[in-house]
């Protein structure tokens, strides 16, 4: 819920477009988290779809900031297997995620770097390797990405519990 955005210490933000196949992984993970797990009161899990960018602008400038942001998304890396879930760094975001995927609206590297470098917020990014993102509208995850949802949820829970720093 928007009202909790600046109140909760930990934000789990799913991003991606549910209209484009495996690109909807982030929102699907958020839905699964909310429906199947009891998240601590300190955690806000939100499906931001393709709206994550302006939320990050607000977080960057807000006086009240979360301690940790966990972003959940889908990527298309070389040398990764479809459905593989892993953590990447801000620097590890594929270049084409920052330029070519206008539909995806992945938060720009610029904003994430600014958040990490200037605000003290711990930024974690959990991604799953896509099987296929269609060129045109085609909702629904591939089977292998559906199976990855639980894996991502478990990794997110570990990140929520971790007493980490930048």
């Amino acid at each position: 819920m928007i009202k909790d955005l600046f109140e909760k210490p930990v934000l789990v933000l799913g991003c991606g477009n549910i209209l484009f196949g495996d690109d909807g992984f982030g929102p699907a993970v958020i839905n699964h988290l909310k429906e199947n797990y009891s998240l601590p009161d300190s955690v806000l899990a939100m499906d931001l779809g393709t709206s994550i960018r302006d939320i990050l602008f607000d977080l960057a400038l807000s006086e009240k900031k979360p301690q940790k942001i966990i972003i959940v998304d889908a990527v298309d890396y070389p040398n990764r297997n479809p459905g593989e879930v892993f953590e990447i760094t801000v620097e590890g975001i594929p270049k084409k995620k920052t330029s070519d995927f206008s539909l995806h609206q992945f938060p720009t590297v610029n904003i994430l770097q600014e958040l990490r470098d200037h605000t003290g917020i711990v930024v974690k990014i959990i991604v799953a390797q896509t099987n296929e993102i269609p060129d045109s509208v085609q909702p629904g995850l591939s089977k292998i990405m559906e199976e990855a949802i639980v894996v991502a949820c478990e990794q997110i829970l570990s990140l929520i519990k971790a007493n980490d720093t930048m």
Binding site: I2, L19, T50, S51, D58, S62, T108
Partner: protein, 449 residues
């Protein structure tokens, strides 16, 4: 051998894009192109779906202006089924639209445009960014965040969802507003209006005057304009008639459902995104910078140019001051930022008017719909330009054909011209630096694609 300068990604525009500047042997600009990824296949996806579901689905097209798609789709559904929503429903739709737009325009000016002006267009990106705004104007930055959050909270509290709205539908809206809810919102809107008025004053006194040279040189082109006006010529974001203005200021008005008679779509082999153009002018389409044909613009400056007046008093005073300085139509591209703030004032004023209207709490907010075969064109002015949803339905109310023209697409040709103009103006003999390339980006950011 041809040399290409690639600017990729374009930082701080809402959506991703890249620019390719082609230099000739002498190092001067031969051509420059903006590539924007297009949203493909949505029209086909719509076919077979109930028209009343469309307003909920279309929010996923654009994460930045979901309310514009939500309302354009609802209006297309109204028209397909031949219904007019009750007055209170239309006022509630307008109120949610104005709240969303106030938040959007604040985001655009302070977080996307301001770093170029407040920090300076030649400054290194390490300081010319959103964090730089905190250093330069910390109190204002905090206020912006507070008010943007406030608009989203008001929408969420009343309409259920701020990001993926489900509030509006063919025939009306999902719930009426109680007097308690109206009073609750009433307690906040004056703060939004006052800050909107502060913002345009702040920009006029502290931001724009310092950069008049940039305003007069970056992205300057003379083309036509498109926007929505009421019958008496006032700018309206929700409803009215379309006005297509030629570069000389003459114009034609037409109903939304006649848009295909006035607008065509051109295709270039190097771009997935189509190039809408003014078919009714009869000059065809040309991206020749010295002699463009059929090209018009959309979005803030365009709306400010096509309207005879603003719909609210403070915004009207701002428009008069603007026209005194820049005339009508005003062609300088960076004036999009100034025009956006005039619109911000109108949105805030209309928001206050709507919340103070006792009719907004009328419990009758839905007109019953019956599925039928028909065609409906729904149009609103989205923050980024005129947004058209055109649906056809069968006798069961299922979509048989859909056509969408989104705001940014209208500006595709104009953005390409502005990019080329800026690059040609600033890059000579192969010499350029980060400041010059950022000014090329500024010519795009003005349109907020």
């Amino acid at each position: 051998m041809e040399n290409v300068i690639n600017i990729q990604p374009i930082t701080r525009i809402e959506g991703h894009a890249k620019v390719a500047i082609h230099l000739d042997d002498a190092g001067n600009v031969a051509d420059a192109r903006l590539h924007v990824q297009s949203f493909r296949g949505f029209e086909k996806f719509c076919v077979g779906r109930p028209a009343e579901e469309m307003p909920r689905i279309v929010c996923h097209i654009c994460g930045i202006c979901p309310w514009a798609h939500h309302l354009a789709s609802s209006k297309a559904g109204d028209a397909c089924f031949g219904v007019t929503p009750p007055p209170a429903a239309i006022k509630l739709r307008r109120l949610m639209q104005m709240l969303a737009y106030v938040g959007d325009k604040l985001l655009n000016f302070y977080f996307l445009a301001a770093p170029d002006f407040v920090i300076g267009p030649d400054a290194d990106y390490s300081v010319r960014n959103v964090m730089g705004i905190i250093g330069a104007a910390p109190d204002i930055a905090k206020k912006v965040v507070h008010l943007r959050h406030l608009t989203a909270q008001i929408i969420e509290k009343f309409a259920g969802r701020a990001i993926h709205p489900t509030f509006s539908m063919p025939g009306g809206v999902s719930k009426p507003m109680t007097e308690t809810e109206r009073q609750d919102i009433l307690g906040h809107v004056d703060e939004l209006l006052e800050f909107s008025k502060f913002t345009i004053q702040f920009a006029k006194e502290n931001v724009f005057p310092k950069y008049m040279d940039a305003i007069k040189t970056i992205g300057v082109i003379e083309v036509g304009y498109l926007g929505t006006v009421t019958d008496d010529g006032a700018l309206d974001f929700y409803d009215g008639k379309l006005r297509l203005m030629k570069p000389d200021g003459s114009y034609d008005d037409f109903a939304y459902d006649q848009y295909l008679d006035y607008l065509g779509e051109h295709v270039e082999p190097w771009s997935y995104q189509k190039f809408p153009y003014a078919k009714s002018w009869g000059d065809g389409f040309s991206l020749d910078l010295d002699n463009p044909s059929g090209i018009y613009r959309s979005n803030t400056l365009s709306r400010i140019n096509v309207c005879d007046k603003m719909a609210t008093p403070q915004a009207q005073a701002e428009l008069e001051e603007f026209r005194e300085a820049f005339g009508r139509p005003a062609h300088l591209t960076l004036l999009y930022h100034y025009a956006r703030l005039i619109e911000l004032v109108q949105c805030a004023e209309q928001m206050v008017e709507l919340v103070n209207d006792p009719e907004i709490t009328d419990p009758n907010v839905r007109t019953k719909i019956e599925p039928r075969a028909g065609r409906g064109v729904g149009c609103v002015e989205a923050p980024r330009g005129t947004l058209i949803h055109d649906y056809e339905t069968d006798e069961n109310g299922l979509i048989t054909k859909a056509n969408l023209i989104v705001g940014t697409t209208h500006n595709n040709a104009a953005m390409n011209l502005s990019v080329k103009q800026t690059a040609q103006e600033l890059i000579k003999d192969g010499i350029y630096d980060e400041g010059i390339l950022n000014k090329v980006e500024m010519s795009i950011r003005a349109y907020d694609p």
